[in-house]
Symmetry: C2
Subunit: 353 residues, 2 copies
């Protein structure tokens, strides 16, 4: 931090996006540690006014000057924009916290989840700190707590990813498709939904209304998707388990916000449901919500808008006393993106004190 004494200046780069919108709400509600908050987006948005901390703030276009006097910058922009501009900001002495995929696996960039590896924040030779992918973040706080106690040995994960994970365009696409299929008999005959939604599948490769799509991200080697590779690689990096076996299939579902995941987690020794429940119930940032007889398990429509990771359906595998089955759910725009970034930024701000 440069100007000790004064409160640090924060820039939110990508303030007009899906993550940015949630970031402004979060900044308005959390304990306020910031001096000026500067809002940055593309030149298309320059001059727009957005509310943060109860004030209207004018958006400025991304440029080198936008970082003048800035101490901490949150980047909530596409990968290529972050890749280009984060080093420019860092070269001006700004501590950059990046929400994109551009730096997460860079060995000189820490990948931080404050509840799990807050200590990593201080080793940042490039002046950049990365926040994990929303899918990783939706499960990692709960898993980190279980790992600390039981020692993780293997993960098999399937995802139920909300459309807002693909930004505003994802939400708009689902809404448009739903308005075309709702109130009809569609969904019972082959081709019905596809004909109704037409060619416009937005950021998804297939219609997402009344459907599930086993694909998220770009194509990687051997048929893997980038979301799948990221979940594996980021989990290993955050937990410091470089060889952890992770098998994952990522699937998009017609939910607006809040990712869910099923997790089969194998540990070093025997586990008990009572022990696992105790760990989950007492872990910071995690809520145990697990009583099927009373209809209690987390679902996206209840979890949206909340901060914690919700965990339900806690069972010990019937055929393996070292493994647990879990259903985990978290808001991909809050803990999955904006909240985790805000928490990291607050750790950096606290370094001045």
């Amino acid at each position: 931090m440069s100007r000790s004494g004064a409160r640090p200046t924060l820039a939110v780069v990508g303030a007009t996006g899906a993550v940015g919108a949630v970031m402004l709400r979060i900044l308005s509600h959390r304990a306020d540690v910031w001096g000026e908050i500067r809002l940055v987006a593309s030149p298309r948005s320059a001059g727009r006014k957005l509310a943060v901390r109860g004030e209207e703030v004018e958006v400025v276009a991304l440029s080198e000057e936008a970082f003048d006097g800035v101490d901490v910058a949150m980047f909530d922009v596409p990968d290529d924009i972050a890749e280009r501009w984060a080093p420019i900001a860092a070269a001006k002495g700004v501590v950059v916290i990046d929400n994109s995929g551009a730096f997460r696996l860079d060995p000189e960039v820490p990948l931080v989840v404050p509840e799990v590896n807050a200590h990593a924040v201080r080793q940042r030779p490039r002046g950049i700190i990365a926040s994990p992918h929303c899918t990783t973040l939706s499960m990692i706080v709960a898993l980190g707590a279980l790992h600390a106690e039981y020692g993780l040995r293997e993960l098999v994960v399937s995802t139920y990813q909300a459309v807002s994970g693909a930004g505003r365009a994802g939400v708009d696409t689902l809404r448009r498709q739903l308005s075309l299929v709702a109130g009809t008999e569609l969904g019972t005959n082959p081709g019905d939904v596809r004909r109704a939604v037409g060619e416009g599948t937005g950021p998804f490769p297939e219609p997402v209304a009344l459907n599930v799509v086993p694909w998220a991200g770009s194509v990687r080697a051997d048929g893997w998707s980038s979301d799948e590779m990221q979940l594996r690689d980021e989990t290993r990096k955050i937990l410091g388990l470089a060889k952890l076996p992770v098998a994952v299939t990522c699937v998009r579902v017609p939910v607006v916000t809040a990712h869910a995941l099923t997790v089969h987690a194998r540990f070093q020794g025997e586990v008990t449901v009572a022990g696992a429940r105790e760990i989950i119930a007492t872990a910071p940032g995690v809520v145990l919500f697990d009583n099927p007889e009373a209809g209690e398990f987390p679902t996206p429509v209840d979890v949206v808008g909340t901060d914690p990771t919700w965990v339900g359906r806690v069972r010990r595998s019937l055929d393996d006393p070292t493994a647990l089955e879990l259903f985990v759910c978290g808001d991909n725009l809050r803990k999955g993106a904006a909240l985790n970034t805000a928490q990291i930024a607050e750790l950096v701000a606290a370094e001045r004190a």
Copy 2:
């Protein structure tokens, strides 16, 4: 079969339900091996006329007399009705093929998937043959083929189950909820969807529109759901692997028809993607649809109304050369229910020849 020479008489019990409706369409399209087809349902439906094989047939109420002269009866009714009436029909010499959960794990009742264990159909000391649960059926033909070649050692499965798996009431519930939430901004704020859909969650414990619900079936011991236990127990019985480790979490999704599943399958030795693709592509009743670069993977809206099991996203686990990751998709009302029952009935009819 009693009356050799003449074509056998078939009764469809539950002809008015979600499975029954698909059964009548299937019977109208498959090679016709039946003499009379009698349609049976509750007294509520008696007198209704339904089309099968291009003719209008009047529905009769379920009673002992409804089975007079019947050779084969398909039961597509709730568990308790099947449990009571299947033995009554069998006592009259009718071969019963039951689609409910009432007899699937009875050691004296074979559980049959013609592509996998057709031979089992002849050992039926109670005169009853069971057809598996729709979730099991949506994956078992593909898995059976892989097992025959590689020898299955372990399964980890997560489901994406369509609402029609809960019958007509499930479909009506999703349609009603969708018409209430479509065209709105709902889904971004906590409580929004719940308030919009009100108390009416139909056969589901939570709203299913814009949501995923990690529960299907009734409550079993230790927090498991009946759908989860059935998938494990039925898979073991059909494949003849009494101790196969199976870990599963069942989740309902807002899809009308066609179940999907992610499968992590571990085998006795090393597998190759090329070998697995060859097995899948050549297995009867299975279609390989797997080319992510061209946007090819099965999704429910494309699979609905088709007979086979569709398999995509075939990958070898990155950290285990003996394991495969698959995304499997099948119509829960066709192969998942009516089609499998029809295939079993045809095996029984062929015994006369």
